[in-house]
């Protein structure tokens, strides 16, 4: 008996048991669909992350202090002088600004909203590519405690209504502050509307938080090839000035994003593995029903053996049945998974990524499941004694 005949026999048997066949593949369908969706969404997310990185720029970096446990605060803190000296000694760095991040509530005449307050100075606009649409950005006046704020346009609309906010007063954590400008934020990360960023002078941010430290500095280099060298130089300057080693850490945005990408990759892998377990469960389901099928078709097996089927013919038939079932389940799963990831992608506003490789692997995996979980039931069928099988009702 050749393969085509085996396939035909298998298809015949599956067709006459349509209901059971479809129930059998359900587990595989769900498993494959789950894996496909997770992988596609994960890969799509990573692609977006990388695209975002390209947009923001790959020549931005941050330097922070590596706090040791039990170390008294203040000793190795950044100072305004540090920033000035780095700018002077490391010409590759075109802009460098202190940045303190605080979560706060902004209250306007109409409403109040939570916001991400960034305490910084003029350079930051160049580094983070802040777009000022009205009024002006912060000035470069180190140490100024002037109570001014640059609001996000959308946020300003929410807390002011139709009034023009520039020149008006708002409060940040109940401290009165004057609006000097409006910025426009693009999109938000990964299409998710993040909490709005507003900008105040560093010293004012320190007043709000009650901590007179500079959390970190952020800078930009003109030539991204030089970013590593520039970061290293800046760290050396800091180490010299504070006479300490291994205390300052510089990381480029690119590195940061890559780490984030790696993390999402790992998460994808983990969720994918969990989905893979559902595939395993699907495979066990196939085995289960194949075993039932073999038991129910004992008489059929007896008849076939009596007519001259060899044991390997029986084995082949049931194995092909299992593989065909799993491949059909796989195909359906791929289609559903593709649909699912398209849906998720649409909701999350990122491109779905169903690579040819993913589809191929899903297919190969379905076939492997068919072989793996079909072998035992098929083996059972093939081992039957013709007389006993024929005696079965």
């Amino acid at each position: 008996m050749n393969f085509i005949e085996g396939l035909r026999l298998a298809l015949e048997s599956l067709w006459v048991n349509k209901m059971r066949s479809s129930l059998t593949i359900l587990g595989v369908v769900i498993g494959i669909a789950a894996v496909i969706t997770v992988v596609a969404v994960g890969q799509g997310g990573q692609a977006v992350l990388m695209a975002e990185l390209q947009k923001i720029g790959t020549n931005i970096f941050a330097i922070s202090v590596n706090w040791q446990e039990g170390e008294p605060l203040g000793e190795h803190d950044f100072t305004y002088q540090d920033i000035a000296v780095i700018k002077e000694l490391v010409p590759e760095i075109t802009y460098l600004a202190p940045t303190n991040y605080i979560s706060a509530v902004v209250r306007g005449p109409k409403d109040k909203k939570p916001a991400q307050v960034i305490g910084t100075e003029a350079d930051y606009a160049q580094i983070a590519n802040v777009k000022v649409v009205k009024g002006r950005f912060l000035s470069q006046r180190p140490g100024t405690t002037r109570a001014v704020v640059v609001l996000d346009q959308a946020l300003a609309e929410e807390i002011f209504g139709r009034l023009d906010p520039v020149g008006k007063r708002v409060t940040i954590n109940n401290r009165p502050v004057q609006v000097i400008g409006l910025t426009k934020e693009e999109g938000g990360f990964l299409g998710i509307q993040t909490i709005k960023r507003i900008y105040v002078p560093l010293s004012f941010a320190q007043d709000i938080s009650g901590q007179r430290i500079i959390q970190q500095m952020e800078g930009i280099v003109a030539n991204r090839e030089k970013i590593s060298a520039a970061m290293a130089k800046a760290v050396i300057v800091l180490e010299r000035r504070h006479n300490v080693k291994d205390r300052y850490k510089a990381i480029s945005l690119e590195e940061q994003m890559k780490i984030a990408g790696k993390i999402t990759g790992i998460i994808t892998l983990i969720i994918g593995a969990v989905a893979g377990i559902s595939l395993l469960v699907g495979g066990i389901g196939v085995m289960n029903i194949m075993l039932v099928s073999v038991t129910e078709r004992t008489r059929e097996i007896g008849i076939r053996l009596a007519l001259g089927a060899r044991r390997k013919d029986i084995l082949k038939q049931f194995l092909i049945e299992a593989i065909v079932l799993c491949l059909a389940g796989g195909l359906l799963g791929i289609i559903i998974g593709a649909g699912g990831s398209m849906l998720v992608a649409r909701l999350a506003k990122w491109p779905p990524l169903i690579s040819f490789g993913t589809v191929l692997i899903a297919f190969a995996f379905s076939a492997a499941i068919g072989i793996f979980f079909g072998l035992y039931p098929a083996g059972r069928a093939a081992k039957m004694n013709p007389i006993e099988a024929l005696r079965q009702e």
């Binding site: 089927a309 007389i387 024929l390």
Partner: protein
């Protein structure tokens, strides 16, 4: 054609052993039509199953077409079942969900015959049993007698050396039985070797020789020499 010597079958279930067939020796010539008779439990089916290579004897020898069957391995036995033996069962044993043509083709599929030849030959034997027009139907759609005729067509399809039938009329009314036996008679006339188990005298009367079994032993042989008109009914 068939020669068995000292054929013995012992069923062992736990510590109890049961001798279903005891030292049966018999020879069946090519073209013979032999009936096997005996009370229920006398070992008729056991005997036929061994002849049909569905079962192996505990001891004794079985020559089919001059080859010793007990020396064959599983695959070779399957081949013998496929090529040399056409088995007809009391309960027809058709596959209910395949159409009649496919049912008849099955032994040829396992023989590896090409599709076209299969179809042709299956149609030919279906025509022989007068059921060609039912080829596209399924077994449940036809009567018991017709099903048994399909089963005979299936048994014939690979042109076997011998047709073995275990109570082929056991589930049929007398009219259907007559139809089925008429086919066996016709086959016999065309030279087919037939061994047929029955416990009905009238059915056995179609054969030319009757083997009587009791308690697993061949106790008597009888050559029927009936006048032609009786045999021709």
């Amino acid at each position: 054609m068939i020669t068995v010597k000292q054929l013995t079958k012992v069923y062992q279930s736990g510590k109890i052993s049961f001798t279903a067939l005891k030292e049966v020796s018999v020879a069946i010539e090519k073209g013979e039509f032999v009936a096997v008779m005996g009370p229920s439990g006398s070992g008729k089916s056991t005997f036929l199953n061994i002849l049909g290579c569905l079962d192996r004897p505990t001891s004794g020898s079985y020559f089919l077409d001059n080859s010793e069957v007990s020396l064959l391995n599983e695959d070779e036995l399957a081949r013998v079942r496929n090529q040399k033996i056409g088995f007809v069962f009391q309960t027809f044993n058709l596959l209910p969900r395949l159409n009649i043509l496919r049912n008849v083709e099955l032994p040829m599929i396992y023989a590896g015959a090409p599709a076209k030849e299969r179809r042709q030959r299956a149609q030919e034997v279906l025509n022989q049993v007068g059921l060609l027009e039912w080829a596209g139907h399924r077994p449940p759609e036809i009567s018991g007698g017709e099903r048994q005729r399909v089963a005979i067509a299936r048994a014939l399809v690979n042109q076997p050396a011998v047709i073995l039938a275990d109570e082929p009329t056991g589930n049929l009314d007398s009219r259907a039985s007559t139809e089925v036996m008429t086919i066996f008679k016709k086959l016999h006339r065309q030279g087919t070797t037939i061994v047929l188990v029955t416990h009905e005298q009238e059915i056995a009367a179609y054969a030319k020789r009757i083997l009587f079994f009791r308690d697993g032993q061949l106790i008597k042989e009888e050559i029927i020499s009936v006048p032609p008109e009786v045999n021709n009914r």
